[in-house]
């Protein structure tokens, strides 16, 4: 007995973990890596933005072009996110509740925009709607402007955020099976009633999660939007494009001020996301397993 008492505790570590020294080294590597690559860039945004004082910071934000960029970003997200929300719900209902031919092809096609470079995502709309594009001459004849105008920005944003909501919902709806909906339908419930009363309560947190990620990307998209926007000040500049223009004009403080708003959006997104994962872990678990 006495022997056990004097032996150092380290000897009794479980066989399924590493020695203390190795653990400390690994934790240090992880912390340093994340601090250097993730934390530092975030901190520098706020330091550069506020470095010239709060007055300068505020002036950069209430600048006419900056406000126009903020308005346009909000407008684009307000169209793109609901559009992809409706699509995501319809697609996940279709894929999770029915068995049909070509389902796996359809699932792959929905994920397709994730494997296309943002620049290419913009390019394809230029090829369809641009002045030299497939529909270009027809659009010009009818006085419709899509490329270098707001509709093009909205379309490109919808494309790059296309899979977000569907991707969160499909696995969780598949996990929940079809029995509840079948029961509701057998009892005579209308399709929409079934969705709102039976399905939605089970998927609401996953839905919110998908919308959150979709919104963050929609407001922050740069590559695709920069190709189709034409970057007309006060008209077709979204916030990320405004950041680029200010930065290239060496207006660093102003660039970082607008960037700090986007960084703030990222922080809020992460906070809500972490909260949802922590609070509703079970209801989001389906997506973790896939």
């Amino acid at each position: 007995m006495a022997d056990v008492a004097i032996s150092p505790p380290a000897v009794h570590r479980p066989v399924t973990t590493e020695p203390r020294a190795a653990r400390i080294v690994l934790i240090a590597v992880a912390v340093l890596f994340l601090a250097f690559f993730l934390l530092l860039p975030l901190v520098v945004v706020f330091v550069e933005a506020l470095g010239a004082g709060i007055g300068t910071y505020w002036k950069a934000l209430v600048d006419k072009d900056a406000l126009a960029a903020i308005r346009l970003t909000l407008l684009v997200a307000a169209i793109a996110v609901p559009a992809n929300l409706v699509f995501g719900v319809a697609a996940s209902w279709l894929i999770a509740k029915f068995e049909f031919r070509g389902k796996s092809v359809l699932t792959t096609l929905i994920d397709l925009p994730f494997s296309v470079s943002p620049v290419t995502s913009g390019l394809i709309y230029v090829l369809v709607f641009g002045a030299q594009g497939l529909l270009g001459p027809w659009l010009a004849a009818h006085g419709v402007k899509i490329i270098f105008a707001v509709p093009g920005i909205v379309l490109a944003t919808i494309f790059v955020t296309f899979p977000f909501v569907a991707r969160e919902l499909i696995p969780i709806m598949q996990d929940q099976g079809t029995e509840d909906e079948e029961a509701a339908a057998s009892l005579g419930a209308h399709g929409l009633t079934t969705f709102f009363r039976v399905t939605l309560p089970n998927i609401k947190w996953a839905l919110l999660y998908g919308v959150l990620l979709c919104n963050a990307r929609a407001m922050g998209e740069f590559g695709a939007v920069s190709v189709v926007s034409g970057k007309i000040r006060g008209q077709t500049n979204t916030m990320p494009l405004q950041v680029e223009i200010l930065y290239n004009e060496y207006s660093y403080v102003a660039a970082f001020a607008v960037a700090s708003l986007l960084a703030l959006l990222a922080l809020v997104t992460l906070a809500v996301k972490s909260f949802l994962e922590w609070r509703y872990a079970g209801e989001l678990a389906a997506q973790r397993r896939h």
């Binding site: 994340l34 520098v44 209902w93 925009p113 950041v243």
Partner: protein, 282 residues
Amino acid sequence: MAGAPSLALRKPSVIPGFGLTLGFVLTYLGLVVLIPLAALVLKTAGLGWSGFLAIASDERTIAALWLSFSLSLVAAAINAVFGLVIAWVLVRYRFPGRRILDAMVDLPFALPTAVAGIALTALYAPNGWVGQYLEPLGIKVAYTPLGILVALVFIGIPFVVRTVQPVIEDLDSEVQEAAATLGATRLDTLARIVLPTLIPALLTGFALALARAVGEYGSVIFIAGNIPYVSEIAPLLIVVKLTEYNYAGATAIATLMLLISFALLLAINLLQAWSRRGFDRG
């Protein structure tokens, strides 16, 4: 259940909405994704073989593609190593600040790429917080290919961590205990029992990080310096061609990028299938 494998489009179901959702999903998918992508294929086909090859064999195109794909491979490899360590530490160890660290991993998903781009440039510029210490050592990061690598590592890290994490959570401790009982050292157990289980997920994470890095634009162009033949990535070359109204050039490079990406992802898929089979046999 029974019955011949029918030619019917779908299995019968009492749940309503099949026709409606199928119609809507196909229409929306077609209009937003498929038709525009078809325009890319159409435009490429319109160039003809000789036209396509002329652009593809252009020295500047080759230099940009080589830079994009080689740096993306290196960045994905760095992410695979550090992503594995981070995922392991987050799942297996308990230490103060772990939750915040875990939440922070997703930052590159949430932070707009242009913001990441100017922030990294501010850090690694010769007078920046990090750059000023590297400058005397003769290491230049911003405005060189090394800067591109930094941006690509930043953008890819969550892909590896988030794919490996759930697999580490599901690791079976009994097998590890058995190995230890039979006299294996911890290092042996990690290398011969744990690592092979993680390889398929690690490859998936590597592939996702690679795919993202190849197409990445916003976070790279600020820090890259964008010198043709030296630090000009393929997506930037597409933009350059577009600003010159050279739609044929832009289209051909975009198609080339897609083709190489798909070939790489296919290779990784095969490698993954092979590593899984090897593991099952062992």
